[in-house]
Symmetry: C2
Subunit: 341 residues, 2 copies
DNA sequence: AACGTTGTCGCAAACGTTTGCATAAGAATA
DNA sequence: TATTCTTATGCAAACGTTTGCGACAACGTT
């Protein structure tokens, strides 16, 4: 490849017999420069395909207009939907985005955080790896760089956090089951004290209490990895109880689908005998039979607002008070797994 | 936030009463520097958390160690799996990755290409937007920057391309149906002359010819947007034919799932009356009943090899001849939609 | 006629790093 | 002892851009 160097300010200046500074200012529409000069400079710039060396600019101004993003797992539909929102909003605002994947590995996560700040990103968007425990490194970086957390967050980190209304969403989902006449509602959740799982569990409890339904530990089931397989496994446990539940609220679509598969195997009628509600609105929720009632999480809106808050913080760094938790509204999509016409 | 400036070479030099150049060389293990000096420099550097300003370094050396990636749609499982591979391999090789989404918009794609080169990425990985027609801008950039295409490629662009063995995979899928005893095999494909669709169609034709099965235009169906809905629609068309097919090869899992849904609605037995094969190994392919036979595309391997070839080109730019098309092997996952024990 | 104002433009420094070249001291050789 | 060779270090330029300050006209105003 003929690595033809790109046009620089100096070349333009030489050709026009102007100073570099004048050319620079002309291109940046500085008021000191006469319209006539601007005109000819811009024309030549266009003709020679001038494009500022963003590296030099960033180097000089200490602003890179790059946002760093760290997520646990990029190939997860919800995550990539958030990323889509991030990319769109960032592009719209004139920022570029560097993405890294922590693979749910805490030390990798810290490593990436360091590389990114070292690299000079203007701010950081992060969704925490599971079992993130050592917060000191993160707090350390938070001193230097603006940071916004989304989805997997922690209230131990004092920065703006964008999440969905986990508790509220779970409350609505469970209350929907109650309104259907269900009285024994099981929940499939995570054992680890994951932020999301805890909030959803809280919503579940509040819905039961508010409707004066007794809480039964026997139908509150937890698992380390809230996957399809474990959803099936836990459901089989529920079916072996003397008093079976009449509804299952799974903290995750995958677990809910696992539940449905298990119910099929044991010829349990959905939703008549046992209704099922999931959480995520994954593509699969419409593929499974019966179609799954689930909570729709607007991933792109999470991404967009995260970027919006981060850029606000970048562009006026003084606003120290502005730390807050933003909750994005979700909605319950009622489908066949919890509804009969 | 207290924007405490980061440590620089100058600060280290001052504190040690050494020159900046000595400090720089010491940290880079330059042979001119005595082991003793290296020792003390490195110690202080570690103590003061020195990290080189990559912007300054990239600015100076014109090497950013950043790869630019452009994909049509990030929230597509296959794409994000490729991205996962790209991220992993890049990180392993000491490169960072900037990702942009063209949203299948050609002018946006060109815009991003320009921004990235302007930004100074060392090379570009790209999956083409649909209907990419104006190649001149891309060719122009190809003169300046190393570039590798993957998944959605075009043989009109003279650069290394990483794809799966589309034709071979389709051939195997169709031959699998033939071996099952199927004689009238329909295909659901795309109308647009998309690279992938054309190749798969070619594999379909070759399999039929090789097995001396007549080609019937009536069961070769095309659609602009090869989606679940259109898969259903086209399948209903097939069912209304006098001579129904006994198998359907869909160019996409989504279309195949649409086909299965339509077959269910008309109470057609799968695979006894009509077998179905898809392409992609999406998550959904295991959710649908019956589980879908499909082609497994190793996305992460595509990503990894794309990065490997790109970096090779970056690190020795002379190798002009090395332009080639690399085909990643796929495998057919036989499941219930085309098999009975 | 002297002054202030306004409109254009250039000079030069600065950002942090790398690197070719010069330099100094000491070691090895003649 | 004089010379050349190492070894270890410093000087200064360069990368492309932005920007504070100063220069210099050409005005209009007293």
């Amino acid at each position: 490849m003929a690595k033809k160097r790109t046009t620089t300010l100096k070349e333009l200046a030489n050709e026009l017999k102007l100073s570099i500074s004048t050319v620079s200012r002309a291109l940046n529409d500085h008021p000191d420069i006469s319209p006539a000069t601007k005109e000819i400079v811009k024309n030549l710039a266009k003709k020679k395909h001038y494009a500022p060396n963003l590296f030099a600019r960033g180097f000089r101004s200490q602003e890179t207009h790059i946002l760093g993003v760290i997520v646990p797992n990029i190939s997860h539909l919800f995550t990539s939907t958030i990323l889509k929102g991030i990319l769109e909003e960032a592009e719209f605002r004139g920022y570029r985005v560097i993405i890294s994947e922590s693979q749910n590995n805490e030390s990798k996560q810290i490593e990436m955080l360091k590389t990114m700040t070292q690299f000079g990103v203007d701010g950081i968007l992060m969704s925490l790896a599971k079992k993130t425990a050592a917060l000191d490194a993160i707090l350390q970086i938070l001193n230097h760089k603006p940071m916004v957390l989304f989805d997997k967050v922690s209230d131990k980190i004092p920065c703006t956090q964008i999440v969905i209304d986990e508790e509220e969403a779970a409350y609505n989902a469970v209350e929907h089951l109650i309104n259907l006449g269900k009285k024994r509602i099981a929940i499939l959740k995570e054992t680890e004290n994951s932020f999301n799982s805890e909030k959803r569990y809280a919503g579940y409890l509040r819905a039961l209490r508010n409707n004066e339904i007794a809480i039964d530990e026997k139908i509150i089931l937890s698992t380390e990895d809230i996957s399809l397989k474990n959803g099936s496994r836990l459901t089989r446990m529920l079916l072996s109880l003397k008093k079976r539940p009449d509804a299952i609220f799974a903290i995750t679509d995958n677990a809910a689908i696992g539940a449905i598969k298990a119910l099929h195997k044991f010829n349990v009628k959905i939703p008549q005998e046992i209704a099922v509600v999931g959480f995520s609105n994954s593509v699969n929720s419409t593929i499974i039979q019966p179609a799954l009632t689930t909570v729709d999480q607007p991933g792109d809106r999470i991404g967009r607002t995260a970027v919006a808050y981060l850029i606000k913080e970048i562009e006026n760094p003084d606003n120290d008070e502005a730390i807050k938790t933003v909750e994005i509204k979700t909605s319950l999509l009622v489908r066949d797994s919890s509804f009969t016409a």
